[in-house]
Symmetry: C2
Subunit: 255 residues, 2 copies
């Protein structure tokens, strides 16, 4: 038996989110089913965090204990042979028993895509939010930069546990043009429930000059913006989760 | 009653190709169903050409006669309200009765996408061919340039009708890097059945140095390459179809 960290990519469109649910098809349930076909007998995999229904990932991190004799390259190939085409194992490594993809995570990076067309583009509509016109990048970057550092983000999302802390630290924010699209990158230590989608919604409305920049200041100081709308899930992608090198450098073999 | 030209975009993944078939879901059948919900009573729409199962389009052109009183902008909106999310009307215009999207077409532009990763990327695997390593762009461009001009392409595809001509004219070919992908653009007056996918397969194998450049010369002069494989349909997209301005400039109202 060993403990594996595995990087997972998925298109979230067809799934009721990451987390396993009794009567719904979820990413976690589908991955666990594929692992069981390889002989895994564990109860549940662990993950860096949950993603909402329709949200994608290129760098979701999961971990699980598994008695697998054939090496990590063959583990990735065997899993992919048993996963549907909208989920894919990217890379696996053996890690110390103490590794936990959620509690050990230092930084989480999300990307949000916007595209601009009068009618939907079927080749990217599952991966980006369609708008009729492009919001102002400078306005969005100016407002986003107010979020850098540690703040109480309860005005932009809620804690996963009742009475959980709503303070989060944001390390990087960046809106940029990418061909005929705009992409937003946000990197933080962790995010509240719906936090990235609500931030994107507020910033886009700011960029379209339908909301004043002051609403971000208000949200950060008063914990309330009055905005309940969210940017669509399909524009969001979990890009990567970073860990301190030290969690991987313990001796793997202790016997 | 008027004659409409309409630009259609679709993700081909879920469809048994463009052309209507009795017991299969096709793009044509789905668009005709949507038109009928708006009151259309025609027998069939016309198209610039058929696309294979899994092939996408951003600029497929269709035409149909329709007694529609509300203008072309509302026609596009009404169709999109009745089409599934993987098909979308982009633009409509009223055209002369004589316009035919296939026979009047001057140039057809296709794009083929390659991406390079050891395991599939679920966010683009439906739209691009995954390879483990990148083929040599210079080799591919050198070989592709041999195809420019008028040639008998029977070594790279077959005529749609038995005894149909297999001569086609190629106006532009170009392989280029696009981020971590490579994209091939090919523009010709028309294409044989499977021609673009067979050309891409041969060029990619050339670029990977698994086939000699001479095979393209052989195909063009002897009408035979010995290659029967095709690049996967999912990497291919019909980008646009161009018409001479004159077909649109006749007086629309003749009464």
């Amino acid at each position: 038996m060993a403990h594996y960290k595995l990087i997972l990519a998925y298109e979230g469109t067809a799934y009721a989110g990451f987390q396993r649910q009794a009567h719904k098809v979820t990413v976690q349930g589908t991955v666990e089913d594929a692992l069981r076909k390889l002989g895994w007998q564990g109860r549940a995999i662990m993950a860096s965090g949950r993603t909402d229904s329709g949200v994608h990932a290129l760098g979701q991190v999961i971990s699980f204990n598994f008695d697998w004799k054939h090496g990590t390259t063959k583990l990735v190939k065997a899993l992919n042979a048993n996963l549907p085409s909208d989920i894919s194992a990217q890379h696996a490594m053996e890690v110390p028993w103490a590794f936990h993809p959620r509690y050990d995570a230092l930084r989480r990076e999300y990307r949000y895509r916007l595209y601009f067309q009068p009618e939907r583009d079927p080749l990217r509509d599952a991966f980006a939010w369609r708008l009729n016109r492009a919001p102002n990048l400078s306005l969005m970057n100016e407002a986003a930069s107010l979020m850098l550092g540690s703040h109480d983000f309860r005005g932009f999302g809620r804690a996963l546990k009742e009475d959980g802390s709503t303070t989060r630290e944001i390390f990087e924010v960046d809106w940029k043009s990418a061909g005929d699209e705009q992409h937003f990158t946000i990197i933080g230590n962790a995010f509240l429930y719906h936090m990235v989608r609500r931030i994107v919604y507020v910033l886009v409305k700011l960029g379209l000059e339908e909301l004043p920049v002051e609403i971000v200041k208000k949200g950060l100081t008063e914990g309330e913006t009055g905005i309940v709308s969210l940017a669509p899930a399909r524009g969001l992608c979990l890009m990567q989760v970073e860990y301190p090198e030290s969690v991987f450098s313990e001796n793997l073999k202790v016997d």
